[in-house]
């Protein structure tokens, strides 16, 4: 009887202590997600009365070339971003994990981009890429390639790639930091053994470093791929999704639909699509890469 009462009071305490976190999260994350689903079935400009629209927004989604383009761009950004960032951050992380003194001096500077907000980075790069006073074009003109100088963000064929490169520039230090932490955990004995076998640096990299970093590669790639669904700030600051639709990825399309075109219902449809994509992507990635292994790595935190 006493044990039973103790158990009940423990359960009560557990409820009491987890309730504040649950309430915050419930009201400002879960309930909004549910409201988004609801709003995806209404027609509303945010001011007048809202109307039930049934599946109209969803039907519109499948016939909307802008949304289709936004989805393609989002996945393009995801893949291109991964391809650009992964080799650089892996090499950089291994480089920084080395014991040489000069490498830790370099590392000090490598991390500084992480200290700035996305807005700050977007504005700095916009100014550097300016066709009149930007340092990139001034350099191209100085080294005798004036024909390459141009408004990088104003060219619809280039803007997407430029934005992807700036995003990569911003996130490489973060992923390099992950790889540095991973590389530092590789037991040195592995290298000593291969040194005796006469393996050179490149062999060692492919035979020891890379396989040993496999969980870090999984973690970093998962964060990169799911993270690319959330790139909003930088693109908003640099191009606002333009020129035309050249850089209008899904989160931007959602924002523009809801807050600039006052189509709250249709914007919510895009938001739900974004959330579903995020959840599906996480599930697929975690299943295919072995979540248990990753979580067991998290355990030791």
């Amino acid at each position: 009887m006493k044990v039973f009462r103790a158990q009940r009071s423990t359960e009560l305490l557990a409820v009491l202590w987890s309730l504040p976190a649950l309430l915050f999260y419930g009201i400002f994350a879960l309930v909004p997600m549910a409201i988004a689903v609801y709003l995806s079935f209404v027609s509303w400009n945010g001011l007048s009365a809202l109307h039930w629209a049934g599946f109209a927004n969803w039907v519109q989604l499948f016939h909307d070339p802008v949304a289709g383009h936004a989805i393609l761009l989002t996945f393009g950004l995801m893949i291109l971003g991964w391809v650009v960032q992964t080799p650089i951050s892996l090499l950089l992380g291994v480089f920084m994990a080395g014991a040489h003194r000069y490498r830790s001096v370099f590392s000090f500077f490598y991390f500084i981009p992480l200290l700035f907000s996305t807005v700050a980075i977007g504005m700095t790069w916009s100014s550097m890429l300016d066709p009149n006073f930007g340092m990139i074009d001034i350099l191209l003109k100085a080294i005798g390639l004036p024909q390459l100088a141009q408004g990088w963000l104003g060219n619809p064929n280039l803007a997407f790639y430029v934005v992807t490169l700036v995003i990569s520039w911003q996130f490489v230090p973060f992923h390099a930091l992950l790889y540095q932490a991973g590389a530092r955990q590789i037991p040195l004995e592995l290298y000593d053994a291969s040194q005796l076998d006469g393996a050179n640096r490149i062999n060692r990299f492919f035979q020891i470093t890379l396989p040993q970093l496999r969980y870090t590669i999984v973690t970093s790639s998962t964060l990169m791929l799911t993270g690319s669904l959330t790139y909003f700030d930088l693109i908003f600051v640099m191009t606002q999704g333009g020129p035309g639709y050249a850089t209008r990825v899904l989160p931007l399309d959602m924002y523009i639909s809801a807050f600039q075109n006052q189509q709250i219902g249709y914007g919510s449809t895009l938001a739900v699509l974004l959330a579903i994509t995020g959840i599906l992507l996480s599930v697929v990635l975690l299943r295919s890469t072995g979540f248990t292994k990753m979580s067991s790595q998290l355990e030791g935190l």
Binding site: S18, L92, I112, A181
Partner: protein, 295 residues
């Protein structure tokens, strides 16, 4: 790196081997040094550009080479930015960051203790909910959050920024703290329980001191997230006196237009608190940034 000297080798051979090995080493270090320097330029020059430009006069910006330091460095841009209400934005950013992070850590610590230590089905359910929540992109909820905040009459207040920031900071914080609290040896809990300590006592005298590294980590991780957040302020606030720094930078761009040196001064100023944190607590800051993603 030790060089084995085998007895059968002559002294001369060993010397020869050593110098060759050294040469190989400096040669093989060539590629890493080159790579390292290349990335140094790519990673750091944009920031150098930002800083150098912030010290130029408007005329200097048009005339001088942007790759080189300013000829006549001036602080006039910093003065102009400060006089344009920068202190208001700074204070707003400080308020939302401090209040949000304090709330996140406080509610998450209690929840994490309940999840990790109290065998409760409810707490376990909450934990699973948070784990699923990690997969939902914050951007996907911005429209309903806007509607909700407006309905609550909180639009264009600092509280409008704090509440959702807290909500989205909780899952990650709970995850990190739960992992950490679980790792505290069982015997420590048991010995305190035998001494008759309550859960509040255990939390205060055992968990709180022992999980200090994890707390510092989450505080830094969440502070940077809130400090640099842009979407919530963009959608949930409007008036200049509710502006936080990232949004202020964005509106500076509209107001100052072509005055790039002033904009760069604002950009640099907005990061000063985090730069200071980096200079004085680099280790904490960096481990805080990859909170939960690596051992």
């Amino acid at each position: 790196m030790s060089i084995s000297t085998q007895s059968e080798r002559t002294e001369q051979q060993t010397m020869h081997n050593m110098s060759q090995k050294r040469q190989n080493r400096s040669l093989s270090e060539f590629f890493p040094v080159f790579f390292g320097l290349l990335w140094l330029v790519i990673a750091f020059y944009p920031l150098l550009y930002m800083f150098m430009t912030s010290l130029r006069s408007q005329a200097g910006f048009y005339d001088e080479n942007p790759w080189l330091p300013p000829l006549h460095a001036t602080l006039e841009n910093y003065l102009a930015v400060w006089q344009a209400g920068f202190s208001t934005y700074l204070i707003n950013s400080l308020i939302i960051t401090i209040v949000s992070v304090a709330l996140i850590v406080c509610v998450s610590l209690f929840a994490a203790y309940a999840i990790a230590r109290l065998k409760s089905r409810f707490a376990q359910f909450v934990f699973n909910l948070f784990l699923v929540g990690l997969a939902i992109p914050l951007q996907a909820t911005i429209i309903p959050i806007f509607v909700l905040i407006s309905e609550m009459g909180l639009y264009d207040t600092l509280l409008a920024l704090i509440l959702p920031s807290v909500a989205f900071g909780i899952p990650m914080t709970v995850l990190i703290l739960v992992t950490y609290i679980r790792d505290i040896p069982k015997e420590l809990y048991e010995s305190m329980q035998i001494d008759g300590a309550t859960h509040v006592g255990i939390l205060r005298r055992l968990v709180l001191p022992l999980s200090r590294p994890a707390l510092i980590t989450v505080i830094i991780y969440q502070s940077i997230g809130v400090w640099n957040g842009f979407l919530f302020p963009l959608v949930l606030t409007q008036s200049p006196n509710m502006r936080v720094l990232p949004l202020a930078l964005w509106s500076f761009q509209g107001e100052y237009g072509a005055n790039i040196p002033a904009i760069m001064a604002a950009v640099f100023l907005s990061a000063v608190p985090i730069i200071l944190l980096y200079l004085f607590g680099r280790r904490y800051l960096l481990s805080g940034m990859i909170a939960g993603f690596s051992k």
